[in-house]
């Protein structure tokens, strides 16, 4: 490398040198073709059903300006300063309020403010896991938890889900089998409400089962509940924490009810666990942003926070319905998908001869994207499933995105039929129930004008 170069990049020799320095845990970090493909989903001309983005465009700019003015006028120096690791009292007050809205009573000193809900997953792993320790979770699991589990070299065991969430009978059998093998999992990770990515909700009966199983075996449960307040139909179910506060570590976030940009989440956990997590957090980032905490506090002071959540629910419910309708219209009968009562995601499963990672390449040609199912498994399963997000783009784009995706899926189904002789090469004109636009019109549809960069800045 030439001396004095402004930016220096490594040569082949250096790669080898760095590689020798990397921790063992980096070798199991998942990174993939998928990540490179996913980068393409962010292009402005792609209808991305891949993100998990809340729609922040409806938050009034005037409110934002006025909140920031309040923070500047009343707490400028403090907002610009470090804060306590566990979080500022004034934001814990907001957290207590939100948890009350979900039927939980909690004291401020049981709460640790974190940098997004994601940090809770990291801190729980940091606190509980030695390399090779077992974590039990749903299959599929939250794709964002996968790199965290991998970074801590966890041995992740995934339990099947059905429309009522994680199958507790299989969970119990799995725990039995692990015990027989002389292994005790450290914790069970679950998203009980409107699961990401599966879109299903853990039934009340199974919630009771889950906390019973955990309590009997003295296992911790990490209950990740970012979407609980985004319910579009049905009645709320009690959180696991409200059924048992001895073995449940509760995690939630302001990301879906206010803004992911403030990067504020929290955990409420049994005191000894919380104390260790606090130490872990201090090592990671000392404290979460004071500025964000003052902003959130000012927001809660300014008026009922539930109003904005209600407006989001209206928007997301319509988008979910549009996506469900579009799936019914455009996807082939061989496909199936979940019907979420809330949250942001639908999980669709195609025939097992379709690999959704490869399908994504074809979909990107049609300028539409999703998350391939494999991202939600650590054991290679999920190859024929996909996660579809309905919160991040508007209704027209959802309709168009699903139409294009449906076309690509149908093509593959038809091709497979041709290859296996399972069916005559069906024309692309599809089912009678779903009349296709005339050829010309369909070509035109592909050049539908997209609002440039609209969703990028979010």
């Amino acid at each position: 490398m030439s001396p004095g170069s402004r930016r220096s990049r490594s040569t082949a020799h250096d790669i080898e040198r760095y590689a020798a320095l990397f921790a063992q845990r980096t070798k199991v970090m998942k990174s993939s073709a998928m990540r490179d493909l996913m980068a393409l989903t962010e292009r402005a001309d792609v209808i991305s059903l891949a993100g998990g983005l809340p729609d922040t465009s409806t938050f009034p700019a005037e409110s934002y300006a006025s909140l920031m003015t309040t923070v500047a006028a009343e707490s400028c120096a403090r907002a610009l300063q470090y804060g306590p690791t566990e979080g500022l009292a004034l934001v814990k007050r907001c957290i207590v309020e939100v948890m009350q809205a979900e039927g939980m009573e909690v004291d401020a000193d049981e709460v640790l403010v974190t940098t997004g809900g994601q940090q809770v997953i990291d801190l729980v792993c940091k606190t509980l896991l030695d390399p090779g320790d077992v974590v039990v979770t749903e299959g599929p699991t939250y794709p964002g938890a996968v790199p965290t589990f991998s970074a801590y070299q966890a041995d992740v065991v995934q339990v099947t889900m059905d429309r009522d969430g994680m199958r507790t009978d299989e969970l119990e059998a799995t725990l039995e089998a692990l015990e027989t093998a002389g292994r005790r999992p450290k914790f069970i990770y679950t998203v009980p409400n409107f699961h990401n990515p599966a879109g299903v909700t853990l039934s009340l009966e199974r919630r009771r089962e889950l906390v019973r199983i955990a309590a009997e075996r003295e296992l911790l449960v990490l209950e990740d509940n970012p979407y609980g307040l985004l319910r579009y139909e049905g009645s709320p179910l009690p959180t696991l924490r409200s059924l048992d506060d001895e073995f449940v570590i509760y995690a939630s976030t302001f990301s879906k009810i206010l803004s992911p940009g403030v990067r504020l989440g929290w955990t409420a956990a049994p005191a000894p666990v919380l104390a260790k997590m606090n130490i872990g957090k201090a090592a990671s980032d000392l404290c979460s942003s004071s500025l964000s905490q003052y902003f959130v506090s000012a927001y809660f002071d300014a008026g009922p926070w539930e109003n904005y959540v209600r407006s989001l629910i209206e928007i997301y419910r319509r988008r979910r319905d549009v996506m469900l309708d579009a799936l019914a219209e455009h996807f082939p009968r061989e496909a199936e998908w979940t019907h979420p009562q809330g949250g942001l995601f639908i999980w669709a499963t195609l025939p097992d001869y379709i690999d959704t990672t490869d399908l994504l390449a074809r979909a990107l040609e049609q300028h539409v994207a999703f998350v391939p199912g494999r991202a939600a498994y650590l054991d290679g399963r999920g190859g024929s499933s996909m996660r579809l997000n309905f919160s991040g783009v508007d209704e027209e784009l959802i309709r168009e995105g699903i139409r294009r995706l449906g076309e690509v899926v149908r093509e593959q189904v038809a091709l497979y039929g041709t290859l296996t002789g399972a069916g005559p090469a069906p024309s692309r004109a599809a089912r009678p129930a779903a009349p296709q636009p005339a050829a010309e019109e369909s070509e035109l549809a592909k050049v539908l004008r997209l609002p440039a960069q609209r969703s990028r800045a979010r």
């Binding site: 490398m1 030439s2 170069s5 402004r6 930016r7 220096s8 990049r9 490594s10 040569t11 082949a12 020799h13 250096d14 790669i15 080898e16 760095y18 590689a19 990397f22 980096t26 070798k27 990174s31 993939s32 073709a33 990540r35 490179d36 493909l37 980068a39 393409l40 292009r43 097992d352 001869y353 379709i354 690999d355 490869d358 399908l359 390449a361 074809r362 990107l364 593959q412 038809a414 091709l415 497979y416 041709t418 290859l419 296996t420 002789g421 090469a425």
Partner: protein, 350 residues
């Protein structure tokens, strides 16, 4: 010199290209050039017209950048550019065209059959699958004709795997090939053009008025062997992630074998009319590897188990890419490599 670095683009290898491009930009700046970075998109022609570079450094991989499309545009605009010309790019980036050219020239390449979607949809090619399977023997490699990296490449271990492998490969391209699997070592031979002292303008193998390179003698660099740490196949992930693949350079090979590999690589480089640089990927099977010795009727036996898989007209230039590693092993640092690639192009500075 004012150099436009073309990178990114719309191909599936966009991320890799952005990394290649960034390293090239740094090197060019260190070499004293004025650099204009262009993320290739709908405004490419506009940007080039505006920027009026003396030279375009094409650091694109995959569709558009490596298949002759961007090169054709540069020809139209009269802008000199690095790397192979339109015709070589077209032939090299299409594995089927490249393999046919190799077969015709007696260069060993694994036995294969290629079809486009129409053959299956409209001509009943599926009926021919059993015959193909019998001929190639399992496992069979199924791959899209044009994709770079290893995206869309599947191993079919039984007849039941073939249809879904084809569906996957057709996700990337309208044309796919089924290829005999060579069990062996994964070798990459990078080739660069050495400049003779006189910069006499000779034709690069491209037609008439098209871009010219200086007269050059291609030279094979030390061979890199890629040894995957975990996967049973040298896949896309391993290819770009530090620490996932062990690279041995120069590969530990008997000198005779290494010499033959370099010689085969140079043959292919010349055959396809490559210019400036390229990377030839080969498999080294057992010398008596049944498959090809039997099927390669014309002299393939002489190559003792070496088979050319493909030629990459614009191989990666990232930190973990093989060409920079090979150059490094030959004592050519990254900056010098870039200087040579640029030097191989005849440029009239405006």
């Amino acid at each position: 010199m004012r150099v436009a670095v073309l990178k990114g683009g719309r191909s599936l290898e966009r991320q890799v290209s952005l990394k290649s491009g960034a390293r090239v930009e740094d090197a060019l700046e260190r070499l004293g050039h004025e650099v204009v970075a262009i993320d290739v998109g709908a405004d490419l022609v506009e940007r080039l017209t505006e920027e009026r570079p003396d030279l375009a450094f094409v650091a694109l991989h995959g569709r558009d950048g490596e298949d002759g499309t961007v090169q054709e545009l540069l020809e139209v605009m009269g802008i000199a550019y690095t790397g192979s010309g339109v015709s070589s790019c077209i032939r090299a980036s299409d594995k089927v065209l490249a393999k046919h050219a190799m077969l015709d020239a007696g260069i060993p390449t694994p036995d294969f059959f290629a079809f486009n979607e129409t053959a299956f949809r409209e001509l009943g090619a599926a009926q021919a699958l059993p015959a193909i399977e019998e001929r190639l023997e399992f496992p069979i490699v199924v791959k899209p004709a044009s994709q770079g990296s290893a995206l869309g490449i599947k191993f079919a271990r039984t007849a039941a795997d073939v249809p879904s492998a084809l569906v996957a490969a057709f996700s990337y391209d309208r044309k796919v090939l089924l290829e005999r699997h060579i069990d062996g070592r994964d070798l990459a031979v990078s080739v660069i053009d050495d400049q003779p002292d006189d910069a006499g303008a000779a034709q690069s193998g491209e037609a008439g008025c098209r871009a010219r390179g200086k007269s050059a003698a291609p030279r094979a660099l030390p061979i890199v062997e890629a040894v995957p740490e975990q996967e049973d196949f040298y896949d896309f992930e391993a290819r770009y992630e530090i620490g996932r693949t062990r690279f041995v350079c120069p590969a530990e090979l008997p000198e005779g074998v290494a010499e033959r590999a370099r010689s085969v690589a140079l043959d292919v480089y010349r055959l396809l009319g490559c210019r400036g640089f390229a990377r030839v990927d080969l498999m080294l099977g057992e010398p008596d590897d049944s498959g090809a010795a039997r099927d390669g009727e014309d002299g393939c036996r002489a190559h003792s188990g070496l088979f050319v898989l493909e030629v990459n007209p614009i191989p990666g230039l990232t930190e973990t890419s093989l060409l920079p590693q090979a150059a490094d092993a030959a004592g050519i640092g990254f900056d010098e490599l870039i200087e040579r690639i640029v030097g191989a192009v005849e440029v009239t500075v405006k």
